[in-house]
């Protein structure tokens, strides 16, 4: 299950999906919206996604994890649209015969999501908003 969704996330749905009689472990990860970032008071995050490609990239991450670790099943759902403080933006569940593979594959999945999947978060904070990732380095020429 590799999906981008406008609905609030339901971890149990992912756990049910990866439940497997040959699994001895299920590891889950939830990314949540924090109320502060780099000294700013965050009000909400607003996610945009190139959904078709994002789902394709998520399943590629799943395929890579299967090659590297002995996992049974993986599920990743990423939210798009506004996500309020404390709410979940991404949920991952991985089942494996043994816990070490499940932990490592889960960690791999969240790190890869942050590198390659075409999903973007706009941070809405007190006094402004910013697309994360574009605010440093070589920015888009601002305000022209």
């Amino acid at each position: 299950m590799f999906r981008v969704s406008r609905e609030s996330l339901n971890l149990q749905e992912l756990v049910d999906f990866v439940t497997d009689p040959e699994a001895g472990a299920i590891v889950t990860f939830i990314g949540t919206t924090r109320n502060n970032n780099e000294g700013r008071r965050v009000i909400a995050l607003d996610y945009d996604a190139y959904a078709e490609m994002a789902e394709k990239e998520l399943s590629r991450i799943g395929a890579q994890a299967e090659q590297r670790w002995k996992i049974r099943r993986m599920a990743i759902v990423h939210r798009v649209g506004p996500v309020q403080i404390t709410q979940s933006s991404v949920a991952i569940a991985v089942s494996a015969a043994h816990r070490a593979d499940a932990f490592e594959a889960c960690r791999f999945a969240i790190e890869e999501i942050k590198k390659t999947v075409p999903i973007w978060k706009k941070e809405v904070f007190e006094g402004g908003e910013v697309w994360i990732g574009t605010q440093s380095g070589q920015p888009l020429s601002p305000g022209k």
């Binding site: 990314g31 996610y47 945009d48 996604a49 190139y50 078709e52 490609m53 994002a54 394709k56 990423h78 933006s89 991404v90 969240i110 999501i113 942050k114 590198k115 390659t116 999947v117 075409p118 999903i119 973007w120 978060k121 706009k122 697309w131 994360i132 990732g133 574009t134 380095g137 070589q138 920015p139 888009l140 020429s141 022209k144």
Partner: protein, 81 residues
């Protein structure tokens, strides 16, 4: 020939819409298309060095040659999670 360009995140805001159809010459590369778009939409100027390119939902290099009806997306730094 025509290609479809979709805009997301900061680029969608800069352009003011999510999608445009562009007429391009045979042999046009993704990078050349970006240069043309910057002329159409001056607010896109300056973004070049931090973009990845996707054609038909796969990452490609800037010298990838476009074909009729390709779907092109310019990918600003991703920040999912």
């Amino acid at each position: 020939m025509k290609v479809k360009v979709k805009f997301f995140a900061i680029l969608r805001e800069r352009v003011g819409k999510g999608e445009v159809v562009k007429e391009v010459d045979e042999g046009c590369t993704v990078k050349e298309l970006w240069a043309t778009l910057q002329k159409d939409h001056p607010k896109l100027a300056g973004a070049q060095t931090r973009l990845l390119y996707a054609v038909n939902q796969d990452y490609v290099s800037g010298d990838h040659v476009l074909k009729e009806r390709d779907e092109v997306v310019f990918v600003p730094p991703v920040s999912g999670g």
